[in-house]
Subunit: 151 residues, 3 copies
């Protein structure tokens, strides 16, 4: 089954190439690497989670938001590569807006990591960092950048 | 017009290769990628903006500081590549020291993004992430790392 | 002297490949680049430094913790490359959990930077960014990601 078929089976439609909110591009290919701009949990209706995780936002909601970030990352990767069978994930750069004392960033990021492996299989396995930051654009609870590779 | 001519037209002199404040190098070439160390808004007289954006530092001043970071990035890229016509921007890693509740990091980063496109044209278009952090070295309001590519 | 001999001379045993605390991998090779997941100062007994630097954690202890992060990074690189003579450091992504007003992130990161140069010599020289974040996984005082290159 192709990654595109898996997405369809799960009822997930990749959004149009995410529109940057400023003067930059959603992806850039450099050699065989695809760099993807930081994605927030944006759906049609806006951001799915805003505020500080461990405060206004529960870790579970943040985990679901990280999955939405990963959907937006895949949308950019698909726009870059044409075909999700031709790529592998290399790195996630994970930023979680964190309330004082919240140290569960890895579990939040798992929402993105698990999803990539679910859709891409072994090719979805990646390195990552997960850190807790003070604030994110437009109050997003999570922002995730990525590097993929063209196979 | 070359990027170097555009800089001259704008009255901008690239500073000498930024001197790291610690045991690392301003740039490193790996294959056709140029990695550039995080740059703060350092000018001859010191940092142009220190403190938290949305608090002591206005978003407008922070945007101007991001432009200074980008000038320092170009200085490192020029030292790496010799000729700014031979490079394209791939990624900015944007960190904005942010007061509680400040979520305008993208507009701050635009100070760097717009400048790169102004100088490099299409080759200046890049991916990026922009996040709000608690503190930056020496109290800098903005720090920006970068990846470029040798054409 | 090989990097492995230098480590032995210093009485340092690289730990087993660091076990990610979530669904990701410690390293991934993409072309000639080795991406290494964010490492915390984990030793056998747990994390060597938890809390905010400039608050509960002294800059000196954080610097030592950054060195432990670098040991864990080298362990991942060794697992990826087989032989530390075959690699060079390209980039460190440094995150320091920072108390309000703490701006000494570069000196903290030097614990990692100096160690890499001590072990790898010229090949250990790298670019980096160093930023102060709000919180890190499991309360770690420092987290460092890395990119190396296969020679």
């Amino acid at each position: 089954m192709t990654p595109e078929q898996r997405l369809a089976d799960m009822g997930i439609t990749l959004p149009g190439t995410p529109e940057p909110v400023a003067n930059y591009v959603p992806f850039k290919i450099a050699g065989d690497l695809i760099f993807v701009s930081g994605q927030v949990p944006r759906e049609e209706g806006g951001l799915t989670a805003t505020g500080l995780v461990g405060g206004d936002v529960s870790p579970e909601d943040a985990c679901r938001a990280a999955r939405v970030c990963a959907i937006n990352i895949l949308a950019a990767v698909k726009a870059a590569a044409g075909d999700l069978s031709r790529v592998e994930a290399v790195r996630l750069e994970g930023f979680v807006a964190s309330a004082e004392g919240f140290t569960g960033q890895p579990a939040v990021l798992n929402g993105a990591s698990d999803f990539l492996i679910e859709i891409l299989g072994e090719a979805g396995r990646h390195t990552r960092f997960a850190v807790g930051v003070a604030e994110l654009p437009r109050g997003a609870a999570v922002e995730i950048g990525a590097v993929f590779r063209l196979l």
